[in-house]
């Protein structure tokens, strides 16, 4: 299982953790993780266990953002390794997501 999901007790925060490689092979699982979910107020994508992220994964993050409110979406990307953080800022994703 490359992905795990948890919802805070009050249902307001949904956390998705990606383990290992976050790339196109994770596509279906990642979609399933947020599909059909009752809308939360805040989403957290935890990349602590992610060793590698490719551009397809970045595309998936954009699709995710769109599907949970677009510009109104509140998504934090946390615990990204320095390399991954660099990729995200190269793509200017810090303007679309909270990268902490």
């Amino acid at each position: 299982m490359a992905l795990s999901k948890s919802v805070s007790p009050d249902g307001k925060v949904v956390t998705i953790r990606v383990h290992g490689r976050f790339d196109f092979s994770t596509h279906q699982e990642f979609r399933d993780a947020y599909a059909g979910m009752s809308p939360a107020q805040r989403y957290v994508v935890d990349l602590a266990g992610t060793e590698y992220l490719d551009s397809a994964a970045c595309g998936m993050l954009l699709v995710f953002r769109d599907s949970v409110g677009g510009n109104q979406a509140d998504i934090s990307i946390v615990n990204a390794a320095p390399e991954i953080r660099k990729t995200l800022s190269m793509l200017q994703f810090h303007k679309l997501f909270k990268i902490a």
Binding site: C58, G59, M90, L91, Q92, K95
Partner: protein, 593 residues
């Protein structure tokens, strides 16, 4: 798109279903080969009684003839009648088809090894139940085989169809993606086949005024989806560059297009550079690509870099996209390096990545005579070791040589367009400061001119004239900029920063452009008038100064105006020096020299 003989892939699955219904009766044509008429009669009776068709014959030539005539599904061959040879013949005759031969032999002989040509054996006298079971078994096997054959043939046809589609797609792709300008001896470019498949693209073309524009991009996703997106990008890039559009407008246009056609989640990280090797000015737009690197020259370390400062293309609305370029002054002979992340993400056996640090370390190494480009590839190979691995790398190096500007190979293709018969027309435009802040109208005016009179062969020269007069009107007439700023060490950058600032702060002002065309004895006469609302200048004095210094380094008549004077039949200033008028003559028989 292709011929109708080959089914499209969605019809493939229906083939086996159709066959099954047709073969459902399971009746076989059985050829009985036996020397003894009474045995033939008995076997024929048994076979017919079980619902199959029986054809009986003696061995030898008669058997072979019957085989060819009746196309049996199965042969019952008596072992006594020269069986081995007959079986071998039948096997050869059946060729690619599956026609099992069952040997009939005395029950006692069944323990002996099977002959090469035979599929199975039956003991004589043949028991009806045993024969029934055998025939049913073979009928099933035959149906199975038949289905398999049909599927195999359908697959082969489908495969052939796909191959043809690929060939067409490849030809279209190659045509659109082909950048003639990449052949310049000052550009080194490596795009591995794997990288193309992964959505990397490299495009280059010259603006009519001679500057090189080059784009390196990297689509998210792989294969077909990435390749499809590359086609409109190449189209826009080549088309707009040829018309003289600057990078910010090309960036905006591509972004607009990709937003419209790409599914969400698919985007294009890209870097676009414009190199004006005449003024050693490099403009860079970087949206999501690794740093664009500039070195001082061959085997020199990194001098400057432009990191990603914008979203990739196809992510956000164009209004939110930072389309502006970063401008740097670079030395003659500088190397500009662009690459996609496939290069730095190449891994060695231990799962380590090549990385930007190793790449940049290659650049300053003067310890052998390898040029920078080869140095990088060689270090990468050493790093990865001998492992078999698909290359996924795109690396481009441009040398800032003045000759880069002069490669007009791409323009050659349009030279063949013949001008329209000279007509009389006049068009006038006016642009307020607001519109000047928003866009550069010169490419659009060029577009209009080319459409109206098809002066493609004169594109370069007319562009020079129009662009020079227009730029002068904006920079000197409207904004009062002094060309002397350009003389400083960081001259061009300082000049353009100042231009940006003044343009931003300007509240009033207007540029009027009038294009007037008419036929003349030898061809056509194009008059370009550019008027600004500024205070003008003492053109008579400037003209005298220019005459005295032979047009060189004059304060008002710089290199640009000297060129305009060379290109035009007349160049004059009117009013208070705020209205320039150039007369360009073209000859109907004039080749595009």
């Amino acid at each position: 798109m292709s011929g109708a003989a080959v089914p499209p892939p969605d019809r493939l699955s229906s083939v086996s279903g159709g066959l099954h219904a047709a073969q459902d009766t399971g009746a076989l044509t059985v050829l009985i080969v036996d020397e003894r008429p009474e045995d033939r009669a008995a076997l024929s009776h048994l076979v017919t009684a079980q619902g199959h068709r029986a054809v009986a014959t003696a061995a030898g030539p008669a058997a072979l003839q019957a085989f060819l005539r009746e196309h049996p599904d199965l042969v019952l061959l008596d072992a006594a009648s020269d069986a081995e040879r007959t079986a071998e013949y039948l096997r050869v005759l059946s060729g690619d088809g599956f026609v099992p031969v069952v040997l009939l032999m005395p029950a006692a002989a069944l323990a002996a090894p099977v002959d090469a040509g035979a599929w199975d054996r039956l003991g004589k006298p043949v028991q009806p139940e045993v024969l029934r079971a055998k025939l049913e078994g073979f009928a099933r096997l035959r149906r199975l085989l038949h289905t398999m054959r049909l599927q195999r043939d359908a697959l082969a046809r489908h495969n052939q169809w796909l191959r043809r589609e690929y060939q067409v797609a490849e030809a279209v792709f190659a045509e659109v993606m082909h950048s003639e300008a990449l052949r310049s001896p000052h550009i080194r470019c490596l795009v591995s086949p794997q990288a193309v498949f992964n959505g990397d693209l490299v495009l280059a073309a010259h603006r009519p005024s001679g500057e090189l524009q080059l784009m390196v991009g990297d689509f998210t996703g792989h294969g077909l989806s990435a390749a499809i997106g590359a086609i409109p990008v190449a189209d826009i890039f080549h088309g707009m560059t040829a018309k003289g559009f600057p990078i910010p407008e090309i960036v905006a246009e591509i972004n607009q297009k990709l937003l419209r056609i790409l599914p969400r989640g698919l985007f294009l990280a890209a870097a676009l550079v414009e190199l004006d090797a005449a003024s050693n000015t490099l403009s860079v737009w970087n949206g999501g690509m690794p740093d664009v690197l500039v070195t001082g020259g061959e085997r020199e370390p990194v001098r400057a870099r432009v990191a990603s400062h914008s979203f990739p293309l196809g992510v956000v609305e164009t209004a939110q996209l930072d389309c502006t370029t970063r401008t740097l002054q670079i030395g003659k002979g500088s190397r500009i390096l662009l690459y996609t992340d496939g290069l730095t993400e190449a891994e060695n056996g231990a799962g380590e990545r090549f990385g930007a640090a190793r790449l940049e370390a290659c650049l300053g190494r003067g310890d052998d005579c390898l040029p920078t480009f080869e140095r990088i590839l060689s270090d990468l190979q050493d790093f990865r070791g001998p492992r078999e691995q698909a290359d996924d790398l795109t690396l481009v190096e441009v040398v800032a040589d003045p000759a880069v500007n002069r490669h007009h190979t791409a323009a050659a293709a349009t030279e063949a367009v013949q001008p329209r018969a000279a007509a009389a027309w006049r068009a006038a435009f006016s642009f307020g400061v607001d519109s000047l802040r928003a866009f550069d109208p010169v490419p659009s005016l060029m577009h209009f001119l080319l459409d109206a009179q098809r002066l493609h062969a004169h594109k370069q020269r007319i562009y020079m004239v129009l662009a020079e007069l227009f730029t002068n009107a904006v920079e000197h007439g409207l904004l009062g900029l002094d060309s002397a700023i350009k003389a400083g060490p960081d001259g061009f950058s300082a000049y353009y920063r100042e231009k940006e600032r003044r343009l931003r702060e300007a509240t009033t002002g207007e540029i009027r452009v009038e294009l007037e065309h008419a036929a003349c004895a030898t061809g056509g006469r194009l008059v370009i008038r550019v008027e600004d609302s500024g205070p003008g200048f003492d053109f008579a004095a400037a003209l005298r100064m220019a005459e005295e210094s032979h047009g060189a380094n004059g304060r008002y008549f710089g290199r640009g105006i000297a060129a305009v004077r060379d290109l035009c039949a007349e160049l004059s200033y009117h009013g208070r020096g705020n209205r320039a008028e150039a007369v360009y003559l073209w000859h109907s028989a004039q080749p595009g020299s």
